[in-house]
Symmetry: D2
Subunit: 349 residues, 4 copies
């Protein structure tokens, strides 16, 4: 086994402490620094018993030869500059979602990483849950049949963000999951978005996204910061089975239903009985697969180290981040255009 990857976590705010905790628990990672402009905050996150260094100097981190990689958990507006500096210093980079504040910057990061042969990874945490892993097996393995519709709801009394709207705050989760789940070759073609700001916050707090897939099927995402109840569900309707993911039900996150509606080919039917028989219902059992509870962030951290060590793209690499941003930017345009469908930004150049 190779040496652990020397890592620095950048940002001691909301998410940084989670990265610190999981980095410390990942054998293939060696946590060296927690860096924040507010070094007291960094020290406080590390606590009174830690041998990990706290610093407010990003330069010192990048100069440290024992640091091979950085994990960036700072506000989105700073991602590009910090990540590019790290790549320029020859460090591998893990970035919180969204990858950058705009698609162009994202492209520059992806190209810079590819040019330098460095790993650029997005922390699409949900993709590393056992639920999404199983969902991917179900979709890719064919158990569900063709994907007929996707409906995702992610609402709660959320931390209303001062600088980004609910779309950029919450929808990256749904979109990165979708990006990870969809069968090979199926892409998002166009996006329509509606949103409102009923609390006069200045940014959209309730939003609905409708995605048109290349197969003609539709995916829909509801994100909302104002709901007093927390709902995180995704339904993936298939021609063979339909799976319901309820992330707030730890004892039964996934339910795979052998239920659905089939339309029989009407050619095979006589003219008179056409209406009666063309629709058939399947009403079979439901199976809730056994899932191993695992901390997603630890699996993500392990994948980051493995991608570096093996010199391969991470499962949620920079290009996955670009695809998510391409949808978000199109959604923003649709919002401004009053909800009409807008083609996804091209992210395959």
């Amino acid at each position: 086994m190779s040496d652990p990857i020397g890592l620095a976590v950048i940002g001691a705010g909301y998410w940084g402490p989670n990265l610190v905790r999981n980095a410390m628990a990942t054998p293939t990672v060696d946590l060296r620094w927690l860096c924040d402009l507010d070094v007291d905050r960094a020290q406080q996150v590390l606590g009174r018993y830690s041998t990990v260094g706290a610093t407010d100097s990003y330069d010192a981190v990048l100069d440290d030869p024992t640091v091979q990689a950085v994990a960036i958990a700072t506000p989105a507006a700073t991602h590009f500059t910090l990540a590019m500096a790290a790549l320029d210093a020859g460090k591998h980079v893990l970035v919180e979602k969204p990858l950058t504040a705009c698609l162009d910057d994202g492209w520059k990061l992806v190209e810079a990483a590819e040019d330098r042969g460095l790993t650029l990874m997005c922390d699409h945490t949900y993709c590393y849950t056992s639920a999404v892993q199983e969902l991917r097996r179900l979709v890719h393995g064919g158990s569900l049949g063709d994907v007929q519709f996707v409906d995702s709801v992610r609402i709660n009394l959320g931390l209303v963000q001062p600088d980004i709207d609910v779309l950029w705050d919450l929808a990256p989760h749904d979109l990165s999951i979708l990006d990870y789940l969809l069968p090979p070759g199926v892409t998002v073609e166009a996006v329509a978005a509606q949103g409102s700001d009923p609390i006069n916050h200045g940014l959209v707090c309730v939003a609905y996204l409708t995605l048109r897939l290349s197969t003609g099927a539709m995916a829909h995402v509801h994100v909302n910061w104002l709901s007093p109840v927390k709902i995180r569900t995704m339904v993936i309707g298939g021609s063979q089975r339909t799976v319901v993911w309820d992330d707030m039900n730890p004892s039964q996150r996934l339910a795979v239903y052998d239920r659905g509606v089939d339309c029989l080919a009407s050619e095979a039917l006589g003219p008179d009985d056409r209406r009666q028989v063309r629709i058939a219902y399947r009403t079979g059992e439901m199976v809730a697969p056994a899932l191993t509870e695992q901390e997603a962030l630890r699996a993500m951290m392990t994948e980051f180290a493995a991608a570096i060590t093996e010199g391969r793209p991470a499962a949620t690499d920079g290009r996955a981040g670009l695809r998510v941003m391409g949808i978000l930017e199109a959604a923003e345009r649709s919002l401004r255009l009053g909800g009409a469908f807008v083609a996804r930004e091209d992210v395959e150049r």
Copy 2:
């Protein structure tokens, strides 16, 4: 107390038997006939022990002087002709949703009933549930504050209809409830709709409606025939409280949350601490009001008889039906236009 209203139920299909059962249990109604083109079916619905007459002659029903009112539960395409004939014969009319197949026909019915001084009522059954009655009290009484958003989900493995799409089949429920709940003066201004037909049924099976209210707030409706799980929820977000209606949870249909997000006026704040303090969270208790379980259809039937006897508009009269249809027709246009917002059809001429 006045004599019971002599009633004939027209149509012995899916819904007719429910009208028959509730008419028989309503003291202010005297059920005379069940009429269906298939008289055997009508007789089967009545059963072996009934003194109510079965007939296939609508003319005979309209000629019967003991019949003062008809309740029409036939396919939507026949509503206009049957209802107009009844009005012409001087009968009061109750019609299943949707009122008619197109808005123009609806207008003709409303005008005909008003000209003749007859009651025209829509069976917007949900409005007569104790849950919706309580919701109306909460909204109209001011407990919720201003309505900030409405989100309604009505999905299940539904009876896929051969002649109408999921919008016309299911959304009338949500829209009639909304029509009943919204505070006086608040109207639906515009509608956007997205839909898909992933089973190649020929009609939309999954649809999303976004309504722009006159206050600027947004209401959203998700209807779906293909979901293996049955969900019927409506969230009404208010500036003071938010209520969640879960109709599949009979032991706790309504939950009123004293939780939410407030944006404080930024004028009162200094320039530096503006971002930190402008958002405040309320995280109070939840109250589930005690509801009396009642059969909604019986309350609706009682209201029909009372409106006739008292010569007043029913709580869900023909104009309520028109308002619902005005939204549905705009939604259909939005669907054809690719999802852009479309102004609601004018129904206030």
Copy 3:
């Protein structure tokens, strides 16, 4: 097909109307009378549109040669006299639970019916639900393996009965289900009961029953009239699988878990690793079988008619009623004795 069974329902109180409704919907039954000492109440139950006769004369019912069977839904104290009179008149008898007020009377009914070749059936309604039918298939078919434990909870804000305690009111449901489910040859050997009357009602309102089965396994029943929440669950733990029945969850009444604990034979292990390896966990999937929703009471009524026509014991015959009563009487003795185990009354003479 033979002629329908001419039936009279006796008692127009809480349960009688349900029997009337289901008798009218059962093709193999011909409902002739509803009999109650209060004939107005009987007429009210039948309603204004019924051709079924109302009467307050039980003698007239028994004298009517078109009546072949009676269904008795009167207070428990009257069951014996009414049922014996019906048997003496040559009528088949269906009785609500409990069969009679005491075991001796129950025995007399069973013997009288057997002597006369008449059907005596107990309305153990739950046994005719699709959930219990499936549970029986799971237990008898071997899917669960050996039954290791049974835990049943039946609590709600109940109709506190003036003349019988919560044990005699609610536990017959659990005990009749258990009687129907247990594998052939497995019997209840002894019973312990604890109870209390915290509202000073004069009769036990909260009670716990512990049953020792002939296999050594334990079954436990919790009945309670004072709970503000309604819970109706039964867990049947098996050596292969465990099934949870949640009757308040119509969309998923049964859940069959491939999870459990196995103790490996310790003989096969060395002395040192004994503790570590003797316990193994199964943590497989959960399957929720598809159940057809059916009205249990209609299936019960159909079985009553079929048992009469075919001259065979009903699935829940008088002897099943005796077995339930044998447990209840033992439970009452245990209550008086302070909760010690008491052998079940012998009901196999």
Copy 4:
């Protein structure tokens, strides 16, 4: 503020790591050592980044003058010896439940601590959850009225213990909560217990406890290692309100129901209407109080430090541990006696 309490955690098994984590997060505690016979395990628990010492020498810990207190999380059989040694060395002691393996030993610890003026505390963790804190306010503050019944269920596919049965493993949670909740002056008078071992494990795996309170009310506890579903509920029925605690529902742990049954004084009623009117139902609303999510173990650790600093008994002191053990020992006797009620061991000498 006084100096933090120097602490050593003893035992790096199942629970020790939780104590370590929370001690590190508690400002009033200064964690010095993690001690385990297997020092590698202790080091592994501490991880690669910790300044806390790992040791296998309990003597060294007790000799360390910077250690003022120990937290013992070793197998129950060792509690007495380790705790007594710590008290003899002048250290304050926190012990995992159960306090000791037998009541006599528990008494010796309590007396030793009191003689030496040292804090002896039991880690009854649940008492420090916000749910139990609120329950205690509801009971002690009178909102519930008189406690009429308590029903507690704690079942799941548990870690089957090799050396203690399910009663000693799980019931201490329920009993310590009950001890904390019951109104002043209300005591457990007698205990009946039933249990079984259907997997031939050698120790009881499924058990039911019935407690007779000094008020005449009954409390019941169901503990089970074999259930594939995890249930942790406690219902406290009161004469004014009833509260349901569902610990597996984080979004609504407590529900306070204004529902119940009242028996009116029969003296006030005439002889004829006695049965009709003596029972009255309350069917009011349900309120789910807002709870602050807090880590119970951190609050417990804070209380331990505060009790030491302030020289007062901890909220769950050694005597609370004795009361729990007095019930457990009586339960074991009842089990051996076949389930009859047994007086609680005297713990008030």
